[in-house]
Amino acid sequence: MIIYFMCLILFCVGLYAILVKRNLIKIIIGIIITEYAVNLFFILVAYRSKGRAPILIPDQIVKNMVDPLPQALVLTAIVIGLAVTALMVAIAVRVYEKYGTFDITKIKRQKG
């Protein structure tokens, strides 16, 4: 049970970074942490106690194995996360070139 709470705490750490931090890079790290907390939760959902890796071997019956589907899904989610992180960092670099700062309170040409 405690591991789910730690997962929740990780999610909240990410949210805190997104909401409170002023540096663009720290916000990006916050987003990555939230993403990973969700991925970790998805993997935990699939876990069976004392479960084995879900690989079928011809002459052997595996009784207690972890659910393989969420692992495949999380793999996809990680790839999406990689693409998004790359795009985000690229835009943060372009923002730095234009504004000369990473401080989000100084980047406000838009009225919001």
Binding site: L15, I18, L24, I27, I31, T34, E35, V38, F41, F42, V45, D67, L69, P70, L73, T76, A77, I80, A83, V84, L87, M88, I91, A92, R94, V95, K98, Y99, I107, K108, R109, Q110, K111, G112
Partner: protein, 429 residues
């Protein structure tokens, strides 16, 4: 393939995006012609899907031949083909418009690649019948839209894109969390299978929490009011064809359509959820309308007006009677048409005069008669002046609200409609 064209809706734009990114730089006019051919064929295919659906009812395509609860399936039903026609007709018109408009940007083929990817994502969200697949297509559409908002790479564009991206990713995390919870409860990802399981077991503990998660996630994508503040930055910053696409169809597909699918087909809508939708809808309607009045930038005003009109659709979905849903869907296609028209017109005005400030463009109707008249038609339609389509959809929504006994909501909807007329008069005079 001819019996069930649903995979083509994803395959055509995806393949065209690949070819454009490969050859667009080398071959002259290749990206223009291929994108237009692709969107035109998608439009024809979506029109053809209406006749298929009316003949056969619901069509299910099994990807890779796997049977539905195990494999991924694509579903073509009435709502799907309605949304497909909306999205692909707007996309076709926008690609025609961007042939000359996008000339002033350097890398036109990059624009077309991202645009077609966004289209593939949206069509995928519409046709898919699988929860995780929905998430993947949602992300494809969203990521390409983040890049498209930053396409100009000036100060404003980059800032708006970063804001939009942070909010969009937060929304995606909530949606993925909701999917993880639903999967852990039902151990299936197929939407129909999931809803069968939820009905059978009567899962009361998990449904409210997941509903709230999805409401947050899809509400952020649809710019409902507590989550709206990225939209007035992101939509005006993008190039005009992209704004037309984002405001016209993207927020509807990723927000309203996906939420409707999840709420009605999977979770089952409950009275508290529909009340919440109604309240959020009415708040978006009022706040978007009032914020739109004070705007001087034409595209910013249109963006706030989008929030207000999205409120009407959410109000209709919240009321939930068949008449209200009909009105909501009718308003959805109306808003897609006139908001895209107005955004494309704003691009034309910016192209001709070089300004977006409403105060500096007096007497424009004399200099640009076609744009003037089409803007006037769009404005009158969006504010609900009788013979035009916007009037009928708002009328249906208001009648449905009165029938369901929500008199206050109906009167607020009428008042906001008058307010809409007030701020669109600024545009047309």
């Amino acid at each position: 393939m001819i019996h069930n064209p649903s995979p083509l809706f994803v395959a055509i734009p995806l393949g065209a995006a690949f070819l454009v990114s490969l050859l667009g730089k080398r071959v002259k006019n290749f990206s223009d012609s291929l994108s237009n051919i692709a969107t035109f064929s998608l439009l024809l295919l979506s029109l053809f899907s209406i006749s298929l659906v009316s003949k056969h009812g619901m069509l299910v395509y099994k990807v890779g031949g796997w049977v539905p609860p195990i494999g991924i399936c694509m579903v073509l039903d009435g709502l799907t083909s309605f949304m497909l026609v909306t999205v692909n007709s707007i996309a076709f018109l926008v690609t025609i418009y961007s042939i000359s408009y996008m000339e002033r940007y350097t890398a036109k083929w990059k624009f077309y690649t991202l645009f077609l990817l966004m289209l593939a994502g949206m069509n995928g969200v519409i046709v898919t019948g699988d929860m995780f697949n929905l998430f993947v297509f949602l992300e494809i559409a969203a990521i390409s839209s983040y890049a498209l908002v930053a396409f100009g790479t000036e100060h404003e564009e980059l800032e708006a894109s970063f804001k939009y991206m942070v909010m969009g990713l937060l929304a995606s995390s909530f949606i993925l969390l909701g999917i993880a919870l639903l999967y852990s409860f039902t151990s299936t990802l197929n939407m129909a299978d999931m809803s069968r399981f939820l009905v059978k077991t009567g899962a009361i503990q998990i449904v409210p929490f997941v509903t709230v998660l999805f409401l947050m996630g899809f509400g952020l994508k649809a710019a409902l009011v507590p989550f709206h503040w990225w939209l007035p930055d992101a939509h005006p910053s993008a190039p005009a064809p992209v704004s037309a696409m984002l405001s016209g169809v993207l927020i509807k597909v990723l927000g309203i359509y996906a939420l409707m699918r999840v709420l009605f087909n999977v979770l089952g809508i409950s009275p508290p959820a529909s009340t919440l939708l109604m309240i959020l809808g009415i708040i978006s309607m009022v706040l978007g309308g009032f914020l739109a009045i004070g705007q001087e930038d034409i595209k910013r005003m249109l963006a706030y007006s989008s929030i207000s009109q999205i409120g009407y659709i959410f109000l209709a979905i919240g009321i939930g009677t068949p008449l209200a849903i009909l009105g909501g869907l009718f308003h959805l296609i109306n808003h897609a048409v006139f908001k895209s028209l107005l955004f494309l017109n704003s691009g034309a005005i910016e192209y001709a005069t070089g300004t977006r400030n409403l105060r500096k463009m007096g007497g424009l109707g004399l200099r640009m008669p076609v744009t003037g008249y089409s803007s006037l038609t769009g404005s009158l339609s969006i504010s609900g002046v009788p013979p035009l389509s916007g009037f009928w959809s708002k009328l249906i929504i208001i009648i449905a609200a009165i029938q369901a006994g929500h008199f206050i909501l109906a009167s607020v909807a009428v008042l906001i409609s008058i307010l809409t007329l007030a701020y669109y008069l600024k545009l047309s005079v």
